[in-house]
Amino acid sequence: MSLGRPTLDAFLVQHGASLRRLAERLCPRGMGVEPAEIEQEARVRLWRTFERETNLREPASYLYRVAAAAAIDAVRRRRARREETLDPPGGGQGRDLPANGTSPEAAALNRELREAIGRAVASLPEPRQQAVRLHLLGFSTGEIGALAGWTEAKARNLVYRGLDDLRGRLTEDGIAPSAE
């Protein structure tokens, strides 16, 4: 029976090893996700979507997107399960409840800091604001450039200038970031 399988089978014969390597590279550490789970989920998605996919001129990109989406969903499932288990109802990230070992005063101070930084970042002009937000979330300037469609030099420039602006605004707010 055809069922499109010869095509997918041939694709997997050619790219199966790449898929396995990708699953290993994409697998997060310490979250209880196994590369085999990502690979299997990616294979199911390939079977589901392969015949609809029209852009197979770049199989490496296609394979990456399928495996990366499978990896994200595996992480999201783990995260949701962990939060269901650990979080008390109404609790969670970004709330004002003090973490274990944190006094209510320290929690209030943290909340003030978060709000002050949130306000200061939101007051930055675009596109510096976007660059600073991504930088503060851990993206390198190379990654920011690739994501936003800028050169790395432009991303670096926006981040540095944006951070200068941010420090200035925080200082005005009575928060003095150390120059690093």
């Binding site: 199989p59 990366a68 994200i72 999201r76 970004g94 943290n110 800091l113 003095a176």
Partner: protein, 206 residues
Amino acid sequence: MHHPLNDDDLRAAYRGAAVSAGVECPSSEDLAALAAGAIDAAAREPLLVHVARCCRCADDLRLILPARPAPGRRPAWLPLAAAAALAVALPLGTWWVSRPASPGVVYRQPAPASPLAPVAELPDGAELPRRAFVLRWKPVAGATRYDVIVADAALAPLHEVRDASANEVTVPAESLPERGVVLWRIEAIMPDGSRRASPLYRAAVR
């Protein structure tokens, strides 16, 4: 108040502020397309705006970014070469599509999904008893018969039914695993010999 903050403090505090409560996060497919650069500027902008304000989506994206394929450089002569290749490939493609399928085919252009493709009558992921594993689908108008394939989660075929005339098949228990998820798919065969394939469904063996 006066708080000396270094870059790490700034990041930690911003992460605390970057929580997208009540906002639906983008799908994993969208984030993967963003990471791969396989998305146009109009679709990229709202995704990036979200990611920059949501520490979870940022974490998801940072997880997959290092594994993305390196962008290829496109030489200046490529458009000309592509045009020349297209001129050769068009007649070749006509022959390729009309020739019998062979195991060597890798990038056969798939037929677009038909709106009249078979649809399962079971919910995706339905649990079925191993001893009465009956797969049903809605009849396709004009279809003369159906082929059905059942595979395990690693896509290894478990059972095939050819030329079924009814719109259900019973999969023998001995073809099924003791427990777990299997995948199945229907193909309707039309009077002119053309085929209409369903999506791939999941069913759990109980």
